[in-house]
Amino acid sequence: MSIESKEVPADLVAPGAGSAGPPPGKRARGTGQGARGGAAPYLLILPAALVTVVLLGWPLVNNGLISFQNLNPRQLIQHVTEWTGFDNYSGQLGSSDFWSVVLRTVLFTAVNVFLIMLIGSLIGLLLARLGKRMRLLLMLGLALAWAMPVIAATTVFQWLFDARYGVVNYVLDQLGWHSMAHYNWIGDQLSTFFVIIVLIVWQSVPFVAFNLYAATTTISKELYEAASLDGAGAWKSFTSVTFPMLRPFFLATTFLEIIWVFKAFPQVYAINQGGPDHLTETLPVHAFVEGMGSQHFGVGAAISILTILILLALMAYYFRIVLKQEEDEL
């Protein structure tokens, strides 16, 4: 995950700061504020609202409008607007290419999120078991992987998996897998995906591990003691104490990861531009390559609207989970 996408709803990052707000029922004591409160809050919010409408709202609306147009370099240069109704959409929805990209994106997201949640949770639990010094060491490693900028990480992974002088091929060859000696990772669909997945999992695991560890520290020790008195082993105490207590955490984090991986762009694009032969294009990359690369702006916009719709559905579910937990806080 990019650091950019690592932005988490403030309440997940800063539970202390987020939950320290005043209780909702308690109204401000100053009554003078009630009279002035009429316009003041709106004036304070106005700049933020304006920026959001102009820079986020307008491009979104525009995206919708373009998706109903036949917009190619010719129309762009001659400044003509050709409305084509739902042509771009029906073209996409009727093409097997589009559906194979959708299927590929879903599979790609599923594999990534499964690995991220599994490895991240295991490392988080390990952090809770370690002694102080070892925990600090592991946390340092996690922090470094987390902090590494996406584009720098992508470049480093290209070097690690380089066909001729890459370390990975050397190690595989030494381990006895000699056909890998000069293997060209980005020459094949599956092996390109393998590199991208290792990259994304490496970048995303720290977030899950840190959060899970932080969350386990909030579970009271007595619950574990009670469980072990009842003869529970490590696995049993995870399934009967840790998981039920952290269920909301697991749900929210899984959905965040799904959203992030689904829209991941720099990693997929920078490794091999969606190649070989368009075979590693996920939906965001596909929209980009169709819209910007081939300059079929209308078609690209339609793909991007379809992608946004899928994301909105995911987000709606995510917000339902998160808002349920924080209802009183809003």
Binding site: D11, A14, A28, Y42, L71, L144, P149, Y170
Partner: protein, 276 residues
Amino acid sequence: MRRSLLGRVWPGATAVVLFIGLVFPVYWMFATAFKQNKDVISEVPVWFPTSPTFEHFAKAMNADGFWTLVGNSFTVTVLAVLFSLVIGVSASFAIARMRFKGRKSTILVMMMAQMAPWEVMVIAIYLVVRDADMLNSLVPLTAFYTIMVLPFTILTLRGFIAAVPKELEESAMVDGCTRRQAFVKVVFPLLAPGLMSTSLFGFITAWNEFPLVLILSKDPSAQTLPVWLTGFRTTFGDDWGATMAASSLFAVPILVVFLILQRRAVGGLTSGAVKG
């Protein structure tokens, strides 16, 4: 006996293995950047830069327009963070301290805006910016980076502002301050850790941004470091030493910022939580 020894050893051993796996890509970037060229391209990897050299760094820094790109990256990033702080502080104050109609929906919109799929909106943004005749300029980049950072700024600052005891503000107002003065003199100084961590997060976001600048700035004079870095290898013909030096130069500010952030942000959070 043997079992309990094993039980004590395996978590530590696993931690060491994981540490190596997590750190290796970062280590390899720096190690390659410092290695002699013959050690970079050798059939058997040279694991440590035994005779370190700065030639790759020199090559990256002397590349055409490198300092322009550094300047662009810093300009765009710093301005975006500043703008979003100015806009964000007032909005988050209203959300944290005032009750008004539409407050809940403002928070919801901000939460959604934070997850806005910018990567997928590049086509529309390209056409909007093109219509405004602003391609190859730092202005649209600054503007869009501001809005990318803004929701996080508002949502985080809201938590920090809410954590400042209301009584402090009220007693300042009893002492004759206006509400504005009370905010500037009492609340604002207490927000320092919050401002610190939000601006550092903003810095990281804007510094890393790639898809937008990729399409808005074809002209190198208006590009930022991420675009340069992805094109570096092609330009320099698989010169891995120089490419890793370039990556290191790009990553170091973020690694530094991140280490500061870890300490400060944790400090900010605990001081926010003391209120109880």
